[in-house]
Amino acid sequence: MVYLDNSATTKPCATAIKYINRCLSENWGNPSSLHSLGIDAEQELDKARLVAAKSIGADEKEIFFVSGGSEANNTAVSGTAEALKKRGKRIVISSIEHPSVLNPALSLGKSGFEIVKLHPDKNGVISEQEIFDAVNSDTVLVSLMLVNNELGSIQNIRAAADAIKNASSPALLHCDAVQAYGKLNINVKKLNIDLLSVSGHKIHGPKGIGFLYKSKGVNITPLILGGGQENGLRSGTESLPLISGLRGAIEELPDIDKQLIIQKELWNYAKDRLLSLNDVKINSDDNCSPYILNISILGYRSETILHFLEEREIYVSSGSACSKGQKSYVLSECGLSNKEIDSAIRISFCKNNTKEDIDKLVEAVITAQKVLRRSN
């Protein structure tokens, strides 16, 4: 199997599975229990929190476990709006955010907030000027994803932090780091980020877990109320098996800088091989994350190519399921033509992919171009 759909999900790693099993068969107590079973569980919880905090240069008290990237995003967006609604009404986001940021924002737009959507250039990047122009003293939230999940484009987070300072804005800076965490270096203090979303199943952890980083001194309104776990920000008995699995996945992460070099080489190799084919357009530019490569195999519908590759046990994504008119809004925003969007394929890597995987993919694409009927 050649698995090149790592932006969709990743194969759980051995350490994650080991830790998950341990919390299912042995350390299964409720961390809130006062007896020894609870204390043992709580210790595991604390260990996981420490590991998560260290990975982004934060303090343990700033890490809150949630059910995944979507919940982290929802909590950040809705929680900030609710907490700061008396101080301002503007929310600034990019038009290519993940639906779990866009939809809460749209919903807030319906209840009186002003939603400003910044549009990217053709490479999927929002310009510094646009960010500066949009952030004013009425802004309470700026949410920009660090790495876009379809194109791989990287946003200028530093510019957002500067813009907020410059406008003397009460705004919090939220960063959806679901596609960036574990792949790019993130230090929340250096980047002046107030809120950060991370998802476990994108880094070889289990599904159903993630964390929200919230800077000390920042207050947001919780989404899930109840017994007061996670310091009141996210009630509900902590899912220790999943949290422990996330810990295991973080522990197994490679050295980011070293891996980036290897990854960039692989990305370049893939790009060169694919460019050498006819009718293949590379949509992700050189500044994108080297873990995501979006291309268009012109003349063939993405879904057809997807199934063709799947028959050969090669797995990729068609950006967004392009069935019956559901066009990828991200690629649309970046100005790609309908023909390019209709034939867009997203290739996303993990540390286990090799040059051989790329070769197999390219061979299959060559065959596809020979054998398949071009679409109208």
Partner: protein
């Protein structure tokens, strides 16, 4: 209280000498439909069929729902069974008919007895039961001419049966009594409705579906299976043949004029379906074609697909509006599944300007460069057969 279901036959009564085969087939179909609900005895007496649970824990309500789905039944009733003892009858009737009696004002009682040894005559039985009901439900009045409900009490050989009112059945003729037919099923709204409509007239259903990987996905096949499951609720087991069609579409696109693509494709599909139908002793094909819906459904287009086969092609939806078809599709619960957007092969090779009014002979001319026999043989050697029945156990599916 012991309850059974009672079926008085509908159209079957008209069938004369064939009645016995029809009745037997109906009983067999009912038995199949009630599979998994528990042990049940089904027997007939005069022109009535009795469905009697013989175990505890028989899911009677579910049985009722399923009997409503069996073709060949105009109406049926649920019926209380008790011993042939007048006191017991007088006690059972008001209790059993509690719900029936509440919503009405007038009623009458009809009594029949086939056991002439029973101490009371039919009129006496009717009088006693009527009196018992009036005592229990004082708001009621007896009206022998135009009652809101008729309570029927029957004294038969082994027991007394009490019932009021009837439940509407699915109508039609028992599946299998009219023979077998093969439906060409896409994943759309029309073909499942066509299959249901013909099953209703007593046809056992086989199905043929054309798949074109990688242009179509496994999800499209799963969708077809789900649709057939819903039809099987009425028609019983459906044998499904999935035919690999990619090679044929490729050959058509290489060797035929573009505006004839869809027409030639449909002609070949009909020919393959006819071959499969003959293999499984079907005597007709069924399609969901309706006049004028899409470019390939003009009269001349339909004539050109008819040209390709010699079997009768049944098109039960030919005179229906889309609205009417959708209405049936909702009734049999296929609509929501039909509108799921998984590509079926009819749309992937669509010509930009399809020929809407082919003249006789034009299609054969357009397909002359194809080696049709060879292509069909090859497709037939790779068909995938499965059996679909909503009520069958998982292992048998």
């Amino acid at each position: 209280m012991k309850e059974i279901l009672l079926i008085k036959n509908g159209e079957l009564v008209l069938k004369g000498l064939n009645r016995f085969t029809f009745e037997d087939r109906l009983i067999k179909n009912i038995k199949n439909h009630l599979f998994g609900l528990g042990e049940v005895k089904i027997y007939k007496s005069q022109s009535t069929i009795y469905i009697e649970p013989v175990c505890d824990g028989f899911d009677f309500e579910e049985a009722l729902t399923r009997v409503k789905q069996v073709f060949g039944i105009a109406a049926f009733s649920r019926c209380a069974v008790c011993n042939k003892d007048i006191d017991e009858i007088l006690k059972t009737a008001p209790e059993y008919l509690k719900d029936e009696m509440k919503g009405i004002k007038t009623f009458k009682v009809e009594a029949k007895r086939s056991d002439k040894l029973f101490p009371l005559t039919s009129p006496q039985i009717a009088k006693e039961v009527g009196a018992a009901l009036l005592r229990a439900y004082p708001h009621l009045r007896v009206d022998v001419h135009n009652p809101d409900k008729t309570v029927t009490v029957e004294i038969r050989d082994y027991a007394a049966y009490i019932r009021a009112g009837q439940i509407k059945g699915a109508g039609g003729l028992p599946v299998g009594t009219a023979g077998r037919a093969t439906v060409l099923i896409s994943g759309g709204i029309d073909s499942p409705v066509a299959a249901y409509t013909m099953a209703k007239r007593g046809l056992s259903i086989n199905a043929v579906h054309f798949a074109s990987p990688p242009y179509t996905s496994k999800r499209a096949e799963m969708k077809v299976k789900k649709l057939l499951e819903k039809v099987s609720v009425y028609s019983g087991t459906i044998r499904l043949a999935i035919v690999p069609f990619t090679e044929i579409q490729d050959e058509i696109s290489k060797n035929c004029p573009e505006e004839f693509f869809t027409l030639i494709m449909r002609r070949i599909m009909m020919r393959i379906a006819e071959k499969i139908a003959k293999n499984y002793r079907s005597e007709a094909l069924i399609t969901g074609e309706s006049l004028g819906q899409v470019a390939s459904q003009t009269l001349s287009a339909i004539a050109s697909t008819d040209e390709a086969v010699s079997m009768p092609v049944l098109r039960p939806l030919i005179g229906m509006d889309k609205e009417e078809i959708i209405c049936i599709s909702r009734k049999i619960d296929t609509f929501e599944t039909s509108i799921l957007p998984y590509e079926d092969c009819c749309t992937v090779f669509t010509p930009k300007h399809p020929k809407t009014h082919p003249k006789p002979g034009q299609c054969s001319e357009a397909e002359k460069n194809l080696d049709i026999e060879v292509l069909i043989e090859r497709a037939l050697t790779n068909i995938d057969i499965s059996y679909i029945n909503y009520y069958a156990p998982e292992e048998d599916k």
